[in-house]
């Protein structure tokens, strides 16, 4: 609808691009982990969008953190089994 706001996907893309030099300097193995962080954030695009936060990167970080916490939870459950 002739929207003037960037979509959440565009925002995530932009934040990721902003770290291109950071990423470039990482070792290849770490680069893949880095990519995984953003892939994790993208699982919560809808929530990031709904948050409508002034500083979107904070919400992106929160989404990454959320996925990590979920991962830890999952691993803990596996240890318990």
């Amino acid at each position: 609808m002739g929207r003037t706001l960037a979509t959440t996907n565009q925002i995530i893309q932009k934040e990721e691009t902003a770290f291109a030099n950071f990423r470039r300097t990482l070792r290849r193995d770490d680069q893949l982990v880095f990519d995984g962080l953003f892939a994790a954030a993208r699982k919560h695009t809808a929530a990031i969008s709904q948050a409508n936060h002034a500083l979107p990167f904070e919400v992106i970080l929160l989404a990454m953190l959320l996925e990590q916490a979920a991962e830890i939870e999952r691993l803990r459950r596996r240890l318990d089994d």
Binding site: M1, G2, R3, L5, T7, T8, E16, A20, R23, R24, R28, D29, Q31, L32, V33, D35, G36, A39, A40, R42, K43, H44, T45, A46, S49, Q50, N52, E67, Q68, A70, E71, E73, R74
Partner: protein
């Protein structure tokens, strides 16, 4: 005075009034005249209105003038000048003169289609069963009074006994000059040679006289056949030749155009409209392939637009007509607008991709026992439920509702124009859909009912876009925002309701949600649906329960979910597929069909068996298809790539295969306009494509079999992704021994099972991943 009862087939203007055609219950087609003065309004500074008054007093058309107060939708009561002309044709002429001389004034009700005025004043809508009292003055009987006997909202109206005559050239004239016309009436097809012309015209005229069809149903009738016949009749001075039922009129012709709508360019060829009978060109009718004649008639009834118009127009014109009709009936002024040539910017697809609706990220992978619940016509329902209308949003009142997220207010004191228009339409669609649920797909009524609900669905789909379209007469962008805000809120209410009842929400997509319950999805479904309905107040329906459904990841990164790439098999064995090759229009039929056959193969797994048991069968099928391809056993037709032209030949920036195919066609003298389709084959060597409609047939040996093989493997890999990764699939197909390992980590049955978060994406080596990221 004679009373006639029959169906209103057509109304169009005649000097001093309208000409109406009635198909009577006795089976007669009666032409009737109806004296019908038409009014429009002018508003502006008093001095200018006085000058207009003086000008009109001496105008040869002698309009009746009056000062009145009418209601503007936004501004409320308004002093206006009433200008009444003797008939619709006179009104149009008068308005042209006035608007040219007084362009600074505001005009209302100036360009309303005649059938809407007629329906608003007499109640006689398009295809209504009417009772007409007629008297005879001249050659043509005149209507004294007319009133409808049914309503557009009747679920099962008595259909008029229409006579249809089909007429089509023997080939597509855009590709090859036809030699014959095939005319099909009740007695089967008749082939008539195009030459000699005289004989052709005489034969067609004789058939028209013999059958006297109400509907001339053609293919390429707008773009080729009728213009060809009319030109031939003109050259041959065949004065006897007239396709109309009204002998006093000549057919009306409209020019071709390309326009941008629903995210793509559509080409609409020139049109030929008839008087007293209808002409529909199936190849030029916007949505004909979607819902056929049944749907066209349904839309004509509910919109009051004539059959010939609505068959060729977009549903947007239909919804605008309905809003105008509501305005006319309420006595609200309809602002004048010049014919819009600007683009409208919305589309069903765009709505869904837009952040306007809530688009969730599904849990990637294969899930069993999943229910899909959809809100029925969500956005129109939201408008009706929350009274969202251009004149109700942002209006302070004692009874105002506050829109979630936005804080915008919506006046609730009186029903808005848009909700009032939509409510009966929504109710009719839901009622027909419920009838449909009770019918077996093989039932003879099913197809017709389905066509009618589809036709209504399209009207509802576009009404949302028209609320936010700045050029729409009853549009307002805030209304649009309010609708999407409520849409998101409502979906979250639904999610909360489902989760409260122990369901896991796998996915949400604008107006639908996919849920499952660890102890059996079906058991509590009714409770969930009741709860969602109670919390939202909107109609919902169960799309179905999937035996299994696979949500696919992004093509670029298998760890990232995308909202609209999935496929699944319902309990009854039918499929739903979104976002993969078989759904794309440019996919060669061979590849689309093979992908569907692979899906059928997977679906053959019994209700209690995992679909991955079918993998050996799927691989065998894939091998067979590849063998057929390499052995040249696939029809060239099935290898065609179809491309919708989006620009003029000189406008292409990249030399894509489609652009090269267009160049070939242009070199052969076939220029395609935006919105038309180009078809081509991939060939070996340069230029790599061969356009299908070139005069010389393609050389079979040149077909780029390897490229098609690669496309096929990729399409298969996308479909089988939840069960086997692409490298393993390729190895298996090529005959290397396959070690059945646990399928790649897509079998996700638990939320938050994402073992791949910190590992490289499977199926790619590190280098690939880097390239995709940077």
């Amino acid at each position: 005075m004679i009373d006639l009862v029959g169906w209103l087939l057509d109304v169009y203007d005649a000097p001093g009034g309208v000409m109406a055609w009635l198909l009577t219950e006795a089976g007669e087609r009666v032409q009737l005249f109806h004296a019908f003065p038409v009014t429009f309004y002018a508003a502006g500074p008093a001095a200018r209105l006085r000058r207009l008054w003086r000008y009109l007093q001496t105008h040869p058309l002698q309009p009746r003038l009056e000062r009145t107060e009418r209601t503007d939708l936004f501004a409320g009561p308004l002093d206006v000048m009433t200008i009444e002309a003797a008939g619709p044709a006179e009104q149009r002429r008068l308005f042209r003169h006035v608007a040219a001389r007084f362009p600074d004034l505001d005009y209302y009700d100036a360009d309303i289609p005649l059938p809407l005025r007629y329906a608003a004043r007499t109640g006689a809508f398009s295809l209504a069963r009417c009772r007409a009292s007629t008297g005879t003055t001249g050659e043509i009987a005149a209507i004294v009074d007319i009133s409808p006997l049914d309503s557009p909202w009747d679920l099962y109206p008595v259909d008029p006994p229409l006579r249809v005559l089909a007429m089509t050239p023997d080939t597509n004239p855009a590709h090859q000059p036809p030699a014959h016309v095939i005319v099909t009436g009740r007695q089967g097809p008749i082939r008539i040679a195009l030459e000699p012309v005289k004989l052709l015209l005489i034969q067609i005229q004789a058939l028209l006289r013999q059958y006297d069809p109400d509907l001339l149903l053609t293919r390429w009738g707008d773009t080729w056949l009728l213009p060809h016949l009319l030109a031939a009749a003109y050259r041959d001075k065949a004065g006897f030749f007239n396709l109309n039922r009204d002998p006093a009129r000549r057919p009306l012709r409209r020019k071709a155009n390309s326009y941008f709508t629903y995210g793509q360019v559509v080409y609409r060829g020139q049109q030929v409209h008839l008087f007293g009978r209808w002409h529909i060109d199936q190849a030029n009718a916007m949505m004909y392939n979607d819902y056929g004649l049944e749907g066209v008639l349904e839309q004509a009834r509910v919109t009051s637009l004539p059959v010939q118009e609505i068959a060729r127009k977009s549903p947007g014109a239909g919804i605008t007509a309905m809003q105008m009709l509501t305005a006319l009936r309420r006595g609200v002024l309809v602002p004048y607008q010049k014919q819009q040539t600007e683009q409208f910017k919305t589309s069903l697809d765009l709505i869904h991709a837009d952040r306007g609706g809530l688009v969730y990220q599904p849990l990637i992978g294969l899930h069993h026992d999943v229910a899909e619940i959809d809100f029925t016509s969500m956005y129109p329902s939201v408008m009706a439920r929350f009274n969202i209308s251009p004149e109700s949003v942002c209006v302070e009142s004692e009874r105002a509702a506050v829109v979630p997220e936005l804080g915008m207010i919506i006046d609730q004191t009186s029903e808005g124009l848009v909700p009032a228009t939509l409510k009966p339409l929504l109710a009719k669609r839901i009622a027909l859909k419920q009838e449909l649920v009770g019918l077996h797909p093989r039932d003879c009524r099913y197809r017709r009912l389905k066509a009618r609900t589809t036709a209504l669905k399209w009207l509802l789909v576009v009404c949302f876009g028209y609320l936010g379209y700045k050029n729409a007469r009853f549009g307002r962008i805030e209304g649009h925002e309010a609708v999407t805000a409520y849409g998101r809120e409502v979906l979250l209410w639904a999610k909360e309701a489902a989760e409260d009842l122990g369901y896991t929400v796998l996915h949400m997509y604008v107006d639908g949600l996919w849920i499952k319950h660890p102890d059996g999805t079906a058991a509590n479904l009714e409770a969930v649906m009741t709860e969602i309905h109670a919390r939202t107040g909107l109609p919902i329906a169960l799309e179905g329960i999937y035996r299994w459904i696979a949500f696919l990841p992004s093509l670029l990164d298998p760890r990232v979910p995308v909202p609209n790439r999935y496929f699944g098999v319902f309990l009854d064995g039918s499929f739903k597929v979104r976002g993969i090759e078989t759904r794309r229009h440019d996919t060669p039929p061979f590849i689309a069909q093979t992908q569907m056959r692979l899906l059928e193969c997977l679906a053959q797994a019994g209700p209690d068996q995992p679909p991955e048991n079918q993998l050996p069968g799927a691989v065998a099928l894939l091998r067979q298809c590849l063998t057929d391809l390499y052995a040249g056993r696939v029809e060239l037709n099935d290898l065609l790539v179809t491309h919708r032209v989006s620009r003029l030949p000189g406008e292409f920036r990249a030399r894509s295969p489609a652009a090269r195919a267009l160049d070939q066609l242009a070199a052969a003298g076939k220029e395609l306009r935006p919105g038309q389709y180009a078809r081509f084959l991939y060939t070996r060597g340069d230029p790599g494509v061969y356009a299908w409609d070139l005069p010389a047939p393609p050389d079979i040996r040149l077909v780029d079999v390897a490229r098609y093989g690669e496309l096929l493997l990729r399409a298969a890999a996308h479909l089988l992704q939840p069960f086997i990764d692409e490298t393993a699939l390729r190895r298996w197909v090529l005959g290397e021994p396959f070690q059945p390992t646990l399928p790649f980590p897509m079998v996700a049955r638990q939320p938050h099972s994402s073992p791949d978060l910190l590992s490289p994406p499977p199926g790619t080596d590190g280098r690939d991943a880097v390239r995709h990221r940077l």
